[in-house]
Each structure stands twice: as structure tokens, then as C-alpha cells.
Amino acid sequence: MSDGPTEKALQEFLSEAQEIVEAFNRDLLTLDEERAQGRSDPDVVNDAFRAVHSLKGLSGLFGVTRMTNLSHNLENLLDSLRLGRVELKPAMLDLLFEAVGQFHRVIGETAEGQAGDAQPIDDLIARLDAAALQRAGKAEADPFNGYQLDPGLLSVLTEYEEHRLRENIKAGRTLYRIHAAFDLMTIDKELDALKGRLKPIGEVITYLPSVEAASDQQIELDVILGSARPLDEVTLAIEGLTAQVAVIPRGRPAHVESAPAPEVIREPAAAAPPKAPAPTIDPPPEAARDKAAAREPHPRDLGERDELSLKSVAQTVRVDIRKLDHLMNIVGELAIARAGFQGILDGIKGDRSQVVLARALRHELRSLGRKLDELQAGILEVRMVPLGQMFDKLARVVRKISRDAGKEIRLTITGADTELDKLIVEELSDPLMHVIRNCIDHGIEKPEARAKAGKPEAGAIRIWAEQRGNHVVIAIEDDGAGLDERRLIEKAVARGLLDPAQARELSQREIYNLIFLPGVSTKEVADQMSGRGVGMDVVKTNIARLSGIIDISSQPGQGTRLTITLPITLAIIQALVVRAAGRTYAMPLNSVLESLLVTHNDVVTIERREVMSLRGQTLPLARLERVFALERGANQPAPGRQFVVVVGLAQHRIGLLVDELVGQQDIVIKPLGRALENVPGVAGATELGGQQTVLVLDVAAIVEEAIATQVAAA
């Protein structure tokens, strides 16, 4: 299987890109016209923004980097336009029209398979960035109109928040500071409730964590509200909530401090081109940082996102995710119906009397297929939420735990705007919370020990996330003591999970991964925070349930890094359809590394285990029919040539022997119901059209089993 898109898919993408660019061009023409008439329709700007956004996404998928980069920067400029940060001037329109020309050029060159010149695009990008930085605001003598705001407050406001603050002051509204306490567990809901109360009477400009919390279970926030209403109305609005309101007086600093510990540094996400190299622990190179800063000039991009959604509340709708699941199911069913039509088409293909019909049918099917793909992509996009909100929660937990543990932690979060399916994000928060606890409790040493080891007293925890193709990688790194290999082995041996002879055979990586075995990571003595009997094995199980892969690496004395790789969505996945012993199965493509055709001669048996040699490495093999104890009927003899599907779980690779590769297909995984949800090796089922229901393999479980039996046999 090749990594790149098929020629057909690429052509389809290009024609789609063409359409989008044309629509974008039309939008620009409209903008130009309106500008001449001295008006501006925000919907047109939004349309243009969306067009460029789709181009960015599509071109990213197909690796057309020049288009991705250009649309990315265009998107920034249009975003600024949308937010009123910059003014639409004729010179800027010229730039935008120039972009249309460049898009056409890139599309043409890509269609002809030419690499093309990146220079004109880079030049244009530089000019676009410069344009995006030209502020609309004129310098004002006193932007804050007599309000002396705490510089500490100003430094934590996003550009948008600051902008709103100025706007509120300019409009002569009073600023209120509302101090509210929230339960740690229900803060999201309570905060929404508070915002809901305040919305009718004013504008919530920002909310910041307060210095001191009354209890461990509570978090206190300072909400800055701009309102034209008198104090008593504001007081009335928050009646019944645990909140106090005060007017921020003019001519005095608004006393709002941000929490001193831990120091949360929000790095803007590094601009991630579609095939970004694996990130290192080092900060992003200056160039990338600069570019990112230009794109998102404010450290708290998420806060701004919240504000944005507040601002455009009239255009957003809250949707129950189950409704989206339902829609996705329907799309799946439509795809099946489409496959049915394809079957009819195949049936009449050879029939000369039906040539005209067949052609018409093929044409309609193609356009139906494209629309279905769009629909599917649209629904998937709706399901996507940024990880930021969850990271915020983690930051709060870090703050609380570190204080309890008497350790100072410097937390750095990167890539908060990385998006994942909402369901996955929800399921992720508990496992991550646990990992963070482990980090602070066991990873980061006490300040004295750190000082002795020559490390800064404050421990560093870095959480970063980034998208890689159809996956999102989330990593949690600490600069603590690292994993103790000897202890891990001792524990695993003591628990009977490993015998001492085996232990000597393990690679360092395998030793670190022992932490995911049940009972190895749990402490003997339960403590308040992490000793809840929940170990890393549970974390792993939870991640596996999301089709995710977890891996751990460590440097003694330097720290530990835990990486979690997750599919962007569980709703629809690409699958490889295979056959073994007369049965058909689907394998999620994200776990398939490659597939090979083999003959009997390629398979050798070493110590009763079947293996093959792959590029100089020994690849353990597992026959799917044996894994599942499938009986081969008389009419299903094992073919002389079989296929090996190489699958991986973390660093482990095994080859799964199957009879036949049927092809690739987008599938919707459906659960087998509560009764069968625990069948090992089976993740669910899917329909392949023609009423054919096939099982979807849980590749991670199969690999794990294969490894376990290998270890047992060794």
C-alpha cells in the first residue's frame, strides 16, 4: 500500500479545489463591490474565510504543501478581517486576488505532476502576514479612558479580550469584577450557568483563576463583566450563586491576579505542515515560533476561541452528539446504498445494449459519491473539538496536586488547538488526569532531591498535542527521575507477570512498558491522590478502548515521556477488508503498516512459532484462522499464496496471515452490544453493502495476545 493518495482521488481533490477557489474569487469580487459602496457584509467575509479554510484542510490531506501554506496565511488575514482587526483596503484586495491566481497556478501544476515554484507563494505569504499585522485601530491618547487596569491583568488577556475591554470602556460601560467559587467537578456547567446569567445584562470579557481557593474541591474565578447596568442589577442577576460582585473603580488598578503557581505557559501551536517531523522536547525553532506568533499573536488562543463563540452565539447551535452519531450512521447506510448501485452498474457493464445507461449511472454515482464524502467530512468536522478545554482542566489539576504534594511545577501546554472527536476528548480526560497525577507524585522529585541532582527546583511538565495525518499524538513529558527499570521488573516478577529468566531478555522499551501490566504501577500503600487502586493498566485499557496506542519512554534522571496516539475520530474509519478461512473481516487501516504477498517458503518455523524475515528483521506471524480458531470448510482450502498484514502496537510488530485482501473501504464501526463488547480481538462490526455484516478486528488486542503467547512460549 502506498502512502500517497491515488491518482483518482488527487484529480477529484483538484477539481474540488478549483471550485472552491472560484467561489472564493466570487466572494472577493463581492467584497470589492461592497467596499466601493462603502459597506461590508460580514457573511461574505465569513464565506471567504470558510472557502480558504476548506482549501487548507483538503490540500493538507493531499500533501499539496504550497496550497496549505498559502491558505493557512490567507485564513489568518481573513480572520483578522472578520474580527475587525484590520480594515479592508484596495491593496489588501489586490493581495487576495493575487492569491486566487496563485491557487490556480498550483492546481494546474499539481494536476500535471509538476513540483512548481514555491518562491512566489512564500513572497505572497510574507506580504499577507504583513497586511494581517496592520491594525485598524488608531492610536488613542488613553485607550482605557481613565481606567487604570492592572498590568498583570492586561498581560493575561488575549488580544480579543483586550479589544473587547477597550470597546466596553469606550462605550462607557462599567466594569464589574465577579468573584465566584466553583466546584472542581462541575465547573464547566456552573461557569456556563454564570455566563448565561450575565449575558443578558452585559458582556463577559474574561475570567481568570483567582489566587486563593477556599477549599481543595473548589476553584475560584474572577469574571470581568462590562455592563451598562447599575450594580444592583448585576447583583440581582447572580443571585443564588456563590459569587460576589464589585465595581472595578476608575483610576485604580483592577485587582486581579493570575495564579502564581503553577506557571502555565501557553505556547502557540507550532505551525504543523501536513507531514511535520516528530516533535522533540526542544522548543520549536525560532522561525516556526515567529510564524506561529504572527498567526496567533496572543498566548491564550483558547480563551479567544471561547469569546468568539460567545460573540457569534446566534450562529451556533448545540447539538447532542448522539444526533451526529445517528447522522453518521445514515451516511454509512447511504454509502452502502451507493455500493448497491455500483453493483448494479457492474452487472450491466458488459451489456452492450446498456452502454448509455451504464455511462449515465456511472456519472451520477461519481457525483453521489463525492457528495457523500463531503457530507461525511462535514459531520466529522462538527464533531471535532479542540483539546484546549481539557488541557485547561489538566492545568487546574496540576495546580491542585502540586500544591498538595508540596512540589512546584512549571506546566507548559502546546497544541491546545489540536482537534479531536468530542467523544474521544471526553473519554480522554480521566486517563490523562491519572497520568498527570502519576507524573507529579512519582515522576517529579521533591525540591531538595532536584536541587541535589542539579535540576531547577520547579519540576517541568510539558503537555503537547499535534495532528499527524489521521491521528493525534498527545505527549506528557516530565523532567523527573525517570522510570526505575529494576523496580518495574521486581514488581512484574513479584506479581507473577514475568519470570526472572524472561526479564533478562527484555529490551529497555519492553521493561518500561511493564508499567502497563496490571498491578505494576499501583502503590502498595494507598495515598490520597494516586493510590486509588487505579494503575497505568487502566489508563492503557481506556486508551485502547478509543483505538489508541500508548507508549512510554524514559531517561534515568532526566524524565519520562508518555505518548498517546489516537485516531481523530471513531465515527468513521478506513479499513482493510481481508478474508481468512472463508470469513471476511475488516481491519482499521490506522493499525496496518503494510501488507505483503507471501508463499509457504517465506514462512519459517522457529521453536514452533511461525516467523518471516522482513527487511532483515524477524517478524512474528499469527494466522488469523488460528487466532480465532476458525474451521476451514472443505471448499476453503488454504491458498498456496497468502497475505501478511503487518500490524503494530507501539514498538511491537506482528504479521497477520490472511487468505485474501479484498480492498479498502470506509466503515462505520458499530458496537456488538453489551453482551459481546468484551470479545477479545473484536472491536465491533460493520456493514459492507449487500447486507453483509463483518467483524472489525481489534488489532491492538490481537497483537498483544500474540506477544503474550510468544513470551509464554519463549
Binding site: V627, L630, G673, R674, A675, L676
Partner: protein
């Protein structure tokens, strides 16, 4: 002469009985498995479908004969004969899959044939006898007797919860 009530004719009287029965009696779907007649409260039946190709699921108890897709849901199908530990008899064209509902979770039950619907009032249902030619009495919730023509017939009422509870261990 008008009255604040209207006296019953035979017709309204009979209709009142029907309504009452509908309220107080249980409609039971009866079906044949291994020559015996069994019944399940009709409230638990989502639909009855013809036998179709099953997708077998490895590593499940033998009575789980596979899964099927029904209206977009994938549901497990249990062979009721195997589940009740009855002798294996060949399936005929009369075989049906009852799609039953247990706490919102659908299951398919493969039966030899569907017989019909019988209404029982509570007093017509006896508790299951201690000994019956089914190995595991926990699958039964009672015995219903009714007249069919002039013959006394017996329906073994299944404890659906028990029938569809089973463990797939890792």
C-alpha cells in the same frame, strides 16, 4: 328520556371485557423450540425476522451463533435450543429469529417456528415446576395453560433476562 349514563348492550359489555383483558392480561408470543412450546411476553419482542446469513463471532459461547444487522444495529443471535440445552434438530424454513429487547439492548433468538399469541391473566400462570425437562430451571419464569380448541395446552414462559445474560470473558 336522557340519562347521565348509558346502560351496556351486549356489544359494549364485551368490548369492556376486551379492554379489561388487554389491561390485566399478558400477551405472550409462543414459539416452538425442540418440540416444546415456549413463550415470551410480547412486550419484549421488537420484531420477528426470517433466518438470514449470520456473521459468526469467535471466542463466544457455542449458543452465540453470530451477529446480524437489523435496522442499522448489530445484534447477537442466540440459538435457543443450544441455550436451553435441548437436543439439536435440523432447522426448517419455519425457523425465525425473534428480536427481543432486554433493557433497551436487542438480542436475536433463533427458534424452530413461531406459533402465535396467547393471552394469559396472572391467575392462569403457574410458577415453574421444580423438575422439567430443561436442564436449567432458571431460564423459566412460569407455565401458562390455555385451551386451544378443546385441548389443554401448555406454554413454558422464558425468563428472558436469564436467557440473554451470559459472560464473554477476556
Amino acid at each position: 328520556m336522557s340519562a347521565p349514563f348509558s346502560l351496556a348492550t351486549e356489544e359494549t359489555y364485551l368490548r369492556a371485557i376486551d379492554r379489561h383483558e388487554a389491561r390485566t392480561s399478558r400477551a405472550v408470543l409462543t414459539f416452538v423450540v425442540g418440540g416444546e412450546t415456549y413463550g415470551v411476553d410480547i412486550l419484549h419482542i421488537r420484531e420477528i425476522i426470517k433466518m438470514r446469513t449470520l456473521t459468526e463471532v469467535p471466542r463466544t459461547p457455542a449458543f452465540v451463533i453470530g451477529v446480524i444487522s437489523v435496522r442499522g444495529l448489530v445484534i447477537p443471535v442466540l440459538d435457543l435450543r443450544a441455550r436451553l440445552r435441548l437436543e439439536d434438530t435440523p432447522l426448517t424454513r419455519a425457523a425465525r429469529i425473534l428480536v427481543v429487547d432486554r433493557d433497551g439492548e436487542p438480542f436475536g433468538l433463533l427458534v424452530d417456528a413461531v406459533s402465535g399469541v396467547v393471552r394469559f391473566t396472572e391467575s392462569e400462570i403457574e410458577p415453574p415446576p421444580a423438575t422439567l425437562n430443561v436442564a436449567d430451571g432458571s431460564f423459566l419464569s412460569g407455565i401458562g395453560r390455555y385451551l386451544s380448541g378443546r385441548r389443554q395446552r401448555m406454554v413454558i414462559l422464558l425468563a428472558l433476562d436469564e436467557v440473554v445474560s451470559f459472560q464473554v470473558t477476556r
